[in-house]
Symmetry: C2
Subunit: 330 residues, 2 copies
DNA sequence: GTGAAAGCGCTAACAC
DNA sequence: GTGTTAGCGCTTTCAC
């Protein structure tokens, strides 16, 4: 930001006034402009390699054209794809996105929310770590910044998600129909709605067959937590299937099963939830994980659209059951 | 951005002047301020839920405190970790980062570079897709925006990288010492310095034993390209080792080997380059991939530091050879 | 069709 | 110690 030419340099060089330059810049052709004037200005802009100072435009218009994204873990492909979905819409609408990775820490999350507020983003797409910081959120809402949640619910805020309850119910039903009966569940943290919905769906599916989960272990959606949950669950007698609240934990469970020499799907059925597609490493998995596909990229697009179009509604997108090979007839 | 209180509202409510509020905001305590005054202001700020308008500060200071990041693929954990490294430094120094994912398209890359310029970022950390767009880059440099490359070189621009040549040489030597002789190489695109350095290191290591590569196939650092390169290379007779310019392509090669029922490391040695650590899925790989660890997070940190401290130097960080199980004594 | 001038919210001299 | 004031670069009425 130095030795930089400003709008008056351009005006001077083109021999016109500031307003004329501004009009060219903003395509304000309501009062038709003489083409040659326009050309002169354009030439001056090119000659001077002029670019408007965004801050000045923003200050004047009181619009930043920026969107914030807050996710718990950007190294998780699931959230990367979400960000890409959001960005695909934002970019074509002239919005810039600020991606914030709270790294599963709510303190960090609060810092980022405050930061986004002071950056005056026009909207925030938010995937809270757990129970979000009410104060920061209120301050944001107070200021008139719109917030859309993705894949998580908070009372009174619009959400873009899938029907986790129904999908989990369906998955559990599928697994039960394959003959598995002693089902353990690796759940998400209690303060994450998504996880609770999935747990409820599973429980109700089991209940409909007169069953209850053999064990419920609380994980935190990480590979490691899935692994250690599975280790402890597998020491309980008679578990014949482990379902997890997301794929990452299911992978952890598979790892544990492998170490304990449990054969999947014969000794043990395993299923996840999410199905992040196109993970190259995952193609090494034989068999492929049984899971539910969540259209995360599209969830991101919908969320961005809601923000940009200033709509205040919640949306649910459909899921798809992936009949992988980690659950099979016994 | 509505019904928002500004600095004069705060001043009025606290019964002080604008400058006093500004001083509190900016911790300008050079002329000691009466603590009670400070308190009054702080209270007013809290009461009004006041937050300064960033655009106004930026305009006044002519500093955006923003950094841009441009990477070819944000779904690649390698670049995600790079971004995290950058962010870790940026955040603690009060900088905001704009992450741009060019998605391997140079057109997109150019758009993002232009966007970052018009956002007036103070510096850009850049991993070009291939040969970067000279025009956009020149415009950026012209404007006094500093650019640091990571893991890639462009003449006259500072770079933070590892010694790819030496590391690749060392890896190849290691593989040759294990007894492999008929080495094929899955290279990167010709216009990426990193890949060329690695290729040169490998070639020279082979040459030092009087050997040449049995085949060289050009990939583009994706899993798919590694897979198809390996398929074609393995149809050549007598290949006993495939090295790839990055891990992702090596994974693709492993996949191909598996399909062709080649036993690794017995029939075929495989090695990669990068070693993105902590990929959960990768723990399913038995054996672990032989590769070179590149400290990408630290590269990011160094790059951010160079930008923020306005230093104009290039830096090389050390690598580490990972003796995985995909290459072994024959 | 084009120009002049006010002011977006804030910071930093400079007064007092 | 605290207040007054002049812009930062731009957009946008309102004149002409």
């Amino acid at each position: 930001m130095k030795k930089r030419s400003d709008i008056r340099d351009v005006a001077a060089r083109a021999g016109v006034s500031l307003s004329t330059v501004s009009r060219v810049l903003n395509d304000r052709t309501e009062n038709h402009m003489r083409p040659e004037t326009r050309e002169k200005v354009l030439k001056a802009i090119r000659d001077l390699n002029y670019a408007p100072v965004k801050a000045a435009q923003t200050l004047r218009r009181l619009r930043t054209k920026m969107l914030g994204i807050v996710v718990p873990d950007i190294t998780n492909l699931y959230f990367t794809l979400l960000a890409r979905g959001i960005e695909s819409i934002a970019f074509e609408q002239g919005f810039t996105t600020l991606i914030c990775d709270s790294n599963h820490q709510s303190e960090r999350e609060t810092q980022y929310l405050d930061m986004l507020r002071s950056e005056d983003v026009e909207g925030i797409i938010f995937v809270p770590v757990g129970k979000a910081d009410g104060n920061s959120l209120d301050a944001i809402l107070d200021q008139g910044i719109r917030v859309v949640l993705v894949d998580r619910r908070i009372p009174n805020l619009p959400t873009v998600e899938v029907d986790n309850y129904a999908a989990s119910f369906g998955l559990a039903e599928y697994v039960l129909n394959l003959g598995y009966r002693k089902v353990a569940y690796i759940a998400g943290p209690e303060d994450v709605s998504t996880g609770e919905d999935r747990l409820a769906g599973l429980s109700d599916a089991l209940a409909s067959k007169g069953l209850t989960p053999v064990a419920i272990c609380r994980g935190d959606f990480t590979f490691e937590s899935g692994y250690s949950c599975a280790l402890s669950v597998l020491s309980e007698t008679g578990v014949d299937a482990i379902l997890a609240a997301n794929d990452l934990m299911a992978f952890g469970a598979l790892r544990a099963a492998e170490e304990l020499k449990k054969s999947v799907p014969k000794d043990l059925g395993v299923a996840g939830f999410d199905h992040v597609p196109h993970v190259p490493y995952a193609t090494f998995m034989h068999p492929e994980l049984t899971t539910v596909e969540v259209p995360i990229y599209e969830l991101g697009q919908k969320a961005a659209l809601l923000l940009i179009d200033e709509k205040d509604e919640s949306i649910k997108l459909p899921t798809k059951l992936i009949r992988g090979g980690t659950c099979r007839e016994q």
